[in-house]
Symmetry: C2
Subunit: 115 residues, 2 copies
DNA sequence: CATACCTGCTAACTTCTGTTGGCATGTGCA
DNA sequence: TGCACATGCCAACAGAAGTTAGCAGGTATG
């Protein structure tokens, strides 16, 4: 499900917050080249599994990557991750449009009330 | 200075981190419609000046908005902000490309060393 | 049976970020 | 002179995010 058209404001924030992290960007980049399982990916990126797992979890929560459990030839459980081919275009206008679907208690931002 | 082509990885992270915030998105949205000065914008958004100033500072640091000091008719110093017409397209490939210009001490991510 | 590989979870610490409130400064007008 | 509105900065607290270390479970091989 590519996000060619930016979804709700909340989703936008979530996706941006998710991508705004060096480790997660590296993960996305790595998975963009080739899918991988957590332990292997952790080794490849030089970070701990626990840490990677947290990041993968966030990426998955934002819908940027997906996980698939598989059994290797020797019977080991491998959790393979792969990127979701998303496309997100950011411009002031796009943001302005997304704003209207932002869930935040605000006092003084009513669309029809102007100064 | 529109960022049609994603700059360094560090810049990417900075921009994403900056935009990953409801308040800042609102600010960008507001400025996209019309430029504004801090006090007025704070009133319009329903947040404190101090808070808005912090966010504006971050947005400016990321190059997403610019400030221009002006004098109103009655001699008051008004600091007007306006959006920078940026265009940022995010895809796994774009990210993969940006990764290579990421400043992070990593052990095991040398471009030429593979598994 | 020990070792090596895979998976997952949680508690706890540390660091960063957001947010508030107060203070200082300046101008114009009643 | 006192009020209103503009600017800015800084200290301090609260909460979220990143990170580590340890535990527990699984299968295959020497």
């Amino acid at each position: 499900m590519s996000a060619a058209s930016p979804p709700t404001g909340d989703d936008l924030v979530r996706v941006l917050a998710t991508l705004a992290n060096p480790h997660r960007l590296r993960v996305v980049a790595a998975l963009a080249r080739e899918r991988a399982y957590v332990s292997g990916l952790a080794r490849q990126l030089g970070i701990s599994r626990a840490l990677l797992q947290v990041h993968l979890r966030k990426l998955a929560a934002a819908g940027l990557v997906t996980a698939r459990m598989e059994l290797s030839e020797d019977g080991k459980a491998m959790n393979y991750y792969e990127v979701e081919p998303f496309v997100l275009t950011l411009t002031p206008q796009v943001i302005a449009a997304a704003i209207e679907t932002l869930t935040v208690p605000d006092s003084g931002e009513q669309p029809e009330e102007r100064s």
